[in-house]
Symmetry: C2
Subunit: 225 residues, 2 copies
DNA sequence: GTGTAATGTTTGACTACTCAAACTAATGGA
DNA sequence: TCCATTAGTTTGAGTAGTCAAACATTACAC
């Protein structure tokens, strides 16, 4: 198994490559996520390339090989199962479990992971609505489109929240904006760049930028599969 | 929080000092437990002394200060609660949970630990019968006397198994020698240095050296308090 | 009481990870 | 097109932990 440090880099590179249009992760953003200086990120990118976990080109960014991707998905599986466990079994608040899982994910063996998966009933999404990869590393495409793209009158179901920031999650939870919740878009104000939705907890207005971090799907679609 | 490495040394020194008549831990045994060379153990002993976690004298062994003891007991609490969780909630076999807990114990925050403790119903012994320190660092004295000290005809209750070796635990479990089990001593053969006991799973003969790792108490004594 | 075995210490070197700071390359206005 | 800004790289140095091996001390058996 890779060191904890290496695992963190792999996970960060994986997410950055997903988001980036070029499919490459830049050093500045990578360094910011991992919490090191860019020089350190460059050094690690080279090291990962030497270990065949990543491809690296001078001034050309870093991306994962098949081997690196497999390892990254594995870590994500551990992370999301642990988050699910922390919320479902230990009843911790979903706004804090990300940070906790971040530490525990490196210490969990396959045996414990399998037992955890079984205990939780083989869930396929974590508390934030993110899909949990299966044990073979298969990862469903996350569903839903940004709430910011919905129009007035749309009635949708919240599928996932793509931001692990405690502050944002607390805000979302307080207004009933959790995965599985049904909301109706009341108004979209292009000038104010805001959107107002009716949730169980009442109406909320938030910036489109914030609504972009909330993924919605047709209210009819089921919870699973 | 101390590093994972430091935590492992503290735990090892704590156990060694308990066992040793002088109350000091020697470098050779310390190094063996932690899995390093004696030179490395010496270096760490000095480092711990500098951090006021331990007392160290050249050629005189190492022992924990109050601060070091507090930290060690805290780690032991995490370890034993996690072991209990792995057996009780995840249904893993008690023979393997020691090694698993060894890795997880360093990644658990006070918040998660508290939730775990609550989930498990605030247990006071782990699956091996070892007492779990409370959150203030209070640790009951482990009860029982070695099974090897019992005489023929004694009817006792197994209180704890003081060996975390997978092989020994598998043997013990196979013959019904688990904490809480009632056994009757059938015979003690001083010449053969062996003892034979009647357990639920049938009669077993084991060396006195092995029986020394099993603690027994009067069959009448209750499970708790 | 002396020599040997056991135990403990020191040193120099290595790996993994990190930073600061000097430096280089790419990018994108005006 | 040029040059400032941003992004990326390199270097030198530091911390934490480790080992091997030379060395020092202690314990104890005779």
């Amino acid at each position: 198994m890779a060191t904890e440090t290496v695992e963190n880099y792999l996970k960060a590179i994986y997410t950055l490559c997903r988001e980036s249009p070029t499919g490459e992760a830049g050093m500045t953003r990578l360094a910011a996520i991992v919490g090191v200086t860019t020089g350190t990120a460059t050094a690690m990118a080279k090291k990962l390339a030497k270990a065949k976990l990543a491809r690296y080109q001078r001034f050309g960014g870093v991306s994962l090989t098949a081997k690196g991707t497999r390892a990254a998905v594995d870590i994500i599986r551990r992370h999301r199962l642990i988050e699910t466990f922390l919320v479902q079994t230990l009843k911790l608040d979903w706004s804090i479990v990300h940070a906790e899982a971040e530490r525990i994910e490196h210490a969990i063996s396959p045996v414990v992971l399998e037992a955890l998966d079984k205990l939780l009933g083989r869930p396929d999404v974590d508390p934030h609505g993110d899909p949990i990869p299966d044990s073979d590393g298969r990862l469903r495409d996350p569903r839903g489109e940004p709430l910011s793209d919905c129009g007035a009158g749309d009635s949708v179901r919240i599928a996932r929240i793509t931001d692990q920031e405690e502050r944002f999650l607390l805000f979302a939870a307080r207004h009933g904006l959790r995965p599985g919740a049904h909301v109706t878009v009341l108004a979209v104000d292009a000038a104010a760049e805001s959107i107002t939705v009716q949730a169980d907890a009442g109406p909320v207005t938030l910036a489109l930028a914030a609504a972009r971090k909330i993924m919605a799907e047709d209210a009819a679609e089921g919870r699973r599969r």
